[in-house]
Amino acid sequence: MNTSTSNLKDKVVKRAVNSLRKSKRIEQLSFVAIANELNVRVDEIQAFYTTTEDIFLEAQKKDWESLHRYWDRHIKKSKTPGDFKNAFEIFFERFVETLSDDADLRLELSCYLPKCIKYREKNRERVKQKLKNLIKRGWPGKDEKVLARQTELVTVLFYGFVDHVVHIPKTERTKILRDFRNMLNLHLQDRKFF
C-alpha cells in the first residue's frame, strides 16, 4: 500500500469515528458525507470499503495485525523462561502504548458490529494460543490442564482489562497496567494452581 492510499484510509477512519462520536448512530454514516468532508470522490473511498462497517473492521484488523507483528518479533527472539515472561509482559505494554485516542469507540464497535465481532472472536483465540505458549515456556512445569485453565483466566482478565483501559485517561492506563501485570504474575506463579 503506498503512502497516499494509507493516508486516505487513515483519514476515512478518523472522519468516520468523529462522525460517530457526534451522532452515536452508525446508520447515519455515509460514504458521500465522508467523501465531501475529505474533499475526495466517493469512488475513491469505495475502492477500499464496501460498507461503512468495513471501515471499522479494517481499522480493527490493522491495529491488531500491527500488535501481533510486534509481539511475534519478541516471541521469536525468546530463548529462556525469562525471555518468554518478558514477551508476555511486552504484549500488555505495547497494547496500552498503542491505544488510539478513540479506542473506546473502536472497542464499542468491535463488540457490536457483526463482522467486527467475528474478527474479535477469531483474534481472541489467536491471542489465547500465544498466551498459552508464553505461559508454558515462561512458567514451565505446569501440567496441560493447569496450563489450559490458567490461560483461559489470563485471557478472560485481559479482555476485562481492555474494556477498562479504553475508558480511562491515558495517564491512568500505565498505572493500572502495573497492577494488572502483578496480578497476573501472582496468579501464574502458583505452579500447581490450587
Binding site: 463488540c111 457490536y112 483466566l153 477498562h164
Partner: protein
C-alpha cells in the same frame, strides 16, 4: 407467572431468536417486521416495548436489578469478614445463573445502543462502589490507596468474566467460576499489595 409477564417473556425470547437468525446489526431490526415474524399484532409488542433498544435495556436491567438486590441484602447481613468474602463469591455464582442464553446479544447491545450504554455505565459505577465495600469488609486492614487499586482490578476482572460467560454455555460458566473466585481471593489476600 402472570399472563402478561408470560407474553412479555415470549416476545423477548422470540425477538432474540429472530435477531440471532438474521445475523444483522441490532438497530436494523424493525419492530413491524418483528411483529410479523412473531405472528402477533404490532400493538401487542408496543404494549411492553417501544423499540428494540427497550427490549435490550429491559434484559440488561433485569439482571442488574437482581444482582444489585442480592448484593445490597448480602452486604446488610454480612457481620463478619467471612460473610463478606462469601458474598462476593456467591454474587458471581448468582450472576452466571441469571445470565440468559442470549446474553451475548445483550452484551453486544450494551456497547452500542445509547440507553444500554447509559445503563452499563451506571451499573459499572454501582459495582465499583459495592465491590469496594465488600473488599473492605471481607479483607480488612487495607489502606485506602490499596483498596482503590484492588477494587479496580476486581472490577475489570468481573467485566472480563462477564464477557466470557456471556458467550459460552452454562456448563463452561460454572467450570471457570471456581478458578475465577480462587484467583480473586489470591489477589485480595495480598494485604500490602506489592
Amino acid at each position: 407467572m402472570k399472563v402478561d409477564v408470560q407474553k412479555k417473556v415470549k416476545i423477548i425470547h422470540k425477538a432474540m431468536d429472530s435477531i440471532r437468525k438474521s445475523d444483522k446489526t441490532l438497530h436494523t431490526i424493525a419492530f413491524p417486521r418483528l411483529a410479523q415474524e412473531l405472528d402477533i399484532p404490532f400493538d401487542e409488542i408496543t404494549e411492553f416495548f417501544l423499540s428494540i433498544e427497550d427490549i435490550f435495556l429491559n434484559e440488561q436491567r433485569r439482571v442488574n436489578r437482581k444482582i444489585e438486590n442480592f448484593l445490597e441484602t448480602g452486604l446488610k447481613n454480612a457481620k463478619t469478614a467471612n460473610d463478606a468474602k462469601e458474598l462476593l463469591e456467591k454474587a458471581f455464582l448468582t450472576f452466571i445463573e441469571l445470565l440468559p442464553d442470549y446474553s451475548d446479544l445483550v452484551f453486544s447491545a450494551s456497547f452500542y445502543l445509547p440507553k444500554c450504554i447509559e445503563e452499563r455505565n451506571r451499573a459499572k459505577k454501582y459495582y465499583k462502589q459495592v465491590f469496594r465495600k465488600i473488599i473492605k469488609k471481607g479483607w480488612p486492614g487495607k489502606i485506602d490507596a490499596v483498596l482503590d487499586r484492588q477494587t479496580d482490578l476486581v472490577l475489570l476482572s468481573a467485566y472480563g468474566f462477564y464477557e466470557y460467560c456471556a458467550t459460552v454455555g452454562k456448563r463452561e460458566r460454572k467450570v471457570i467460576l471456581k478458578d475465577f473466585n480462587n484467583m480473586i481471593n489470591l489477589h485480595l489476600q495480598d494485604r500490602l499489595f506489592f
